[in-house]
């Protein structure tokens, strides 16, 4: 319980940012917090946020682990395109759902292992290593779909993954939430979290302490590939087809932003998956808010950039120390209290 509370306190800036964005949304569109049950399923803008934010949330889970090792995975958007194409291709060829999902996840895993091999075995810088698949990925996806948008309007079971509901909640939300609980449990209940943080801070020193840095790097990139595959399936199921050109386009950048807004350092080390997920929800709230506000769509990206800039500036170490400094001057007693402690 104590540890839970201290984790909550660490995430306070992120939670505060999310709260402020949600309040702003509510001011723009008064019915924002309204959630209602229709046909055994919840509807409302809040539900929309947790539903639409699924791909970035999933990518952010894998990206958090990769970034914790001082790496980065630029290929996740392209892997979404590849895996979406694989899923559409398998299901239209008549494979059952389980085989389709299994095959698609295997392809995502393979993509992650490829990145892992480049980074861990060949020691290529992660940004370059994953750029290769980022560039090649959409080409591979086009080869799989043979250049067309592969639709599967007649496959309700796969479509259910993208737009169905379970216990009143949308499937994409349930999938990312379960995945998040699973990953947090795996990294924090085993020693993986500690070892990942150790190689992120100082890979050489960790290796010299007997940590199997190579296999850990393989594992985090494979996880990232797997998360991208799940996101790819959701994105394809949502539009009932695989679009090799647009599926997951630029989402790697959204995922990186979510991780950073979540308070994780790009220099590796300490990480918080929960923080990244809050980051992903902040991004989606901004997206939804802009749509609800009725601004002309050409302003969307600029408004989004400005809001993210504000969040990052407020979180930056410089403004944090400025904040402490200003507070100390206004309340001279605070300094004394600190001295007493």
């Amino acid at each position: 319980m104590k540890r839970f509370l201290s984790a909550l306190r660490r995430l306070l800036p992120q939670l505060a940012a999310l709260g402020i964005i949600l309040l702003l949304n509510a001011m723009i569109s008064p019915g924002f917090f309204h959630v209602e049950m229709q046909n055994g399923r919840l509807y409302g803008s809040l539900i929309d946020v947790i539903n639409r934010g699924a791909p970035v949330a999933l990518l952010a889970i894998g990206m958090t682990l990769v970034i914790a090792t001082k790496g980065i995975d630029l290929s996740v958007g392209a892997v979404m395109a590849i895996t979406g194409a694989v899923a559409a291709s398998l299901i239209t060829q008549g494979y059952p759902l389980v085989a389709t999902l299994g095959g698609t996840l295997a392809v995502g895993l393979f993509c992650g292992l490829w990145n892992g091999a480049l980074v861990a075995l060949l020691d290529i810088q992660p940004i370059i290593a994953t750029l290769i698949l980022m560039v090649a990925g959409r080409g591979i996806a086009q080869l799989i779909t043979e250049g067309i948008i592969l639709t599967f309007n007649d496959k309700p079971d796969l479509i259910f993954v993208g737009s169905g509901a379970f216990l009143g909640l949308p499937m994409p939300f349930i999938i990312w939430f379960v995945m998040a609980i699973l990953m947090v449990t795996i990294v924090r209940r085993t020693a993986l979290g500690l070892l990942i943080e150790a190689i992120g801070v100082n890979r050489r020193a960790s290796t010299l302490s007997g940590v199997g840095s190579r296999s850990l790097l393989f594992a985090v990139y494979a996880t990232s590939g797997l998360c991208a595959a799940i996101a790819g399936i959701i994105a394809a199921a949502d539009i009932k087809g695989a679009d090799a050109n647009n599926a997951g386009l630029w989402l790697e950048l959204d995922a990186i932003l979510a991780v950073v807004i979540g308070g994780n350092s790009l220099l590796g080390g300490r990480f918080s998956i929960a923080g990244s997920l809050i980051g992903a929800m902040i991004m989606q709230s901004v997206n939804t808010g802009i749509l609800l506000s009725g601004f002309p769509p050409e302003f969307n990206l600029i408004i989004k950039a400005v809001i993210i800039l504000i969040i990052l500036v407020v979180q930056s170490p410089t403004s944090q120390s400025l904040w402490t400094f200003l507070r100390r001057d206004r309340h001279p007693t605070a300094k004394q209290e600190r001295a007493v402690r």
């Binding site: 993986l192 943080e197 020193a205 010299l208 302490s209 300490r270």
Partner: protein
């Protein structure tokens, strides 16, 4: 002398951080043509005093006079302009630029508004000639040894500032020849009338170069004395505030043969271009020392034994079992431990806590699926913090905030937690303060008495002689001698190192 205005004078300087005094009413006087050593354990206030003088910190009270005039340097650049230049342990120049560019960075000679490369190179050559360096100034800085880089940094600092030169542990990563080269430069600058402040942990070096010594302890001035007539033991007790029993212990009271069984048996282990094949036997409860100049293959021996460098021939038996040491992971599984020489890059995981740093090797050996519970980690941390007297504000403190000596103890704790058969220590006492130094030596003796086998690499020969049952001597990437029993002495080691006509001794 009494009438002469001192070059630099600090009077009653105080500085505190969050109510904790780092400097308390400290006086310091530096004369022209003097090398003034500033000594004290870690945390004594040496670097705070330097930072106050160079403008990196602002003093809370007191005054600093340069040639009798009060100065208030706003920052390091300001202090440089006033005539106070600083050279740090880690050379803070740009390795990818040429020597000349480094010397004239920010003040390049210009012609028609463009940098005049030819003039810059000519000026650089002339400048370095004064220091006895005749090198290609157009070559990148990184192509020269650390010692040469230090001298280039000194040349730059003196050329810019020219009155006071502060050397902050300049010799920490140099070997004896290089130290001598650096010292001849320092002596020359002293003769030219500069005032030089010299910070070092090496007492030998202090005695060989300094004219005056100022000792700080816990932010206070303890004494300021001329080196002449100062006894080494007095200096150490001033620094520590107590007598140090083992400071001068050089006798070899270690039995040559403990009669224990052989734990590690190495035959013809070597790697082409790295280290000639060597044999090594280490018995239970035995300390084997390794001596040699820097670059003689000492660290390489450790790296081959710990699987960091993969050997291209030879065998290793651990307690009679043939063992494959292809990676550090395998070495750790075989019960080996290794405290590397470069703590910052190869040892500590800076951002992680003391607790996590201590638990790391044991956790790595158990594998990720068998985590040490938080309780076990806490117990491990508090046990070793107490046993090794690690000074930290708590087990959750990031290890990067600890002093060098305490970081070294954390590394030792990391390996002791794995209960190793065989522990390799590479320069375990380098760059740490006198108090921690003695504690680590005591610890080495205790571990050996408890039956652990150790291989210790050290440049401090007295120290090595003090605890080693045998000493291996290396030269030119080859094991050249093994000294046993009576032969284990400082002079014996020096003779072995110098045997084939090569001169010099380890620092």
């Amino acid at each position: 002398m009494a009438n002469e205005t001192p070059l630099l004078r600090a009077k009653g300087v105080s500085k505190s951080f969050f109510g904790v005094a780092a400097l308390d009413d400290v006086d310091f006087t530096l004369r022209s043509g003097e090398v003034h050593a500033l000594l004290g354990e870690n945390g004594a206030g040496k670097s705070t005093l330097i930072k106050v003088i160079t403008g990196a910190y602002r003093r809370d009270a007191g005054e600093v006079l340069l040639e009798g005039k009060p100065i208030f340097p706003r920052d390091v650049l300001d202090a440089q302009a006033l005539g106070i230049g600083t050279v740090y342990q880690e050379v803070n120049l740009l390795p990818n630029l040429s020597v000349a560019e480094n010397l004239y960075l920010g003040r390049q000679p210009k012609r028609f508004g463009m940098i005049d490369m030819r003039a810059m190179n000519r000026l650089s050559r002339e400048l370095l000639k004064r220091y006895g360096l005749d090198i290609d100034v157009a070559a990148p800085l990184s192509s020269f040894s650390v010692a040469i880089q230090q001298i280039i940094a000194i040349a730059r600092a003196v050329d810019i500032s020219g009155k006071v030169l502060i050397l902050d542990e300049p010799t920490a990563s140099l070997d004896t020849h290089e130290v001598e080269m650096l010292f001849s430069v320092v002596r020359q600058l002293r003769a030219e009338g500069l005032g030089i402040i010299f910070i070092s942990h090496f007492l030998d070096q202090v005695f060989s170069i300094a004219d005056t010594i100022t000792v700080l302890r816990n932010g206070r001035l303890i004494a300021s004395r001329a080196v002449e007539g100062l006894e080494r033991i007095d200096l150490v007790s001033m620094m520590l505030g107590r007598r140090l029993e083992e400071a001068e212990d050089t006798g070899n009271g270690v039995a040559a043969d403990t009669g224990g069984e052989t734990v590690i048996k190495v035959r013809h282990l070597g790697k082409r271009g790295v280290l000639a094949p060597f044999d090594l036997d280490v018995k239970r409860g035995e300390v084997v020392g390794i001596a040699g100049l820097l670059g003689s293959g000492r660290t390489e021996t450790a790296q081959l034994l710990f699987g960091i460098e993969r050997a291209d021939g030879g065998t290793v038996e651990v307690e009679g079992q043939a063992t494959n040491l292809a990676s550090p992971q395998k070495a750790v599984h075989a019960g080996f431990g290794f405290c590397p020489e470069d703590r910052k890059t190869d040892g500590i995981i800076g951002d992680l806590s003391v607790r996590e740093n201590i638990a790391l090797a044991l956790q790595a050996r158990r594998g990720w699926a068998k985590p040490l519970s938080r309780r076990e980690q806490d117990d491990l941390a508090s046990q070793y913090i107490e046993a090794l007297d690690i000074r930290t504000a708590g087990a959750e403190m990031p290890v990067k905030f600890l002093s060098g000596g305490n970081q070294q103890k954390v590394l030792l704790a990391r390996w002791l937690a794995t209960n190793p058969r065989f522990l390799i220590l590479d320069e375990p006492t380098r760059g740490i303060d006198v108090g921690a130094h003695a504690e680590i030596i005591r610890l080495i003796r205790r571990l050996c008495a408890d039956g652990m086998s150790l291989l210790v690499i050290s440049s401090e020969l007295e120290e090595l002689v003090g605890y080693s049952a045998r000493v291996l001597v290396l030269r030119d990437r080859r094991h050249v001698a093994e000294l046993v029993g009576e032969e284990v002495s400082t002079t014996g080691i020096l003779k072995a190192i110098a045997a084939s006509g090569t001169t010099g001794a380890a620092a």
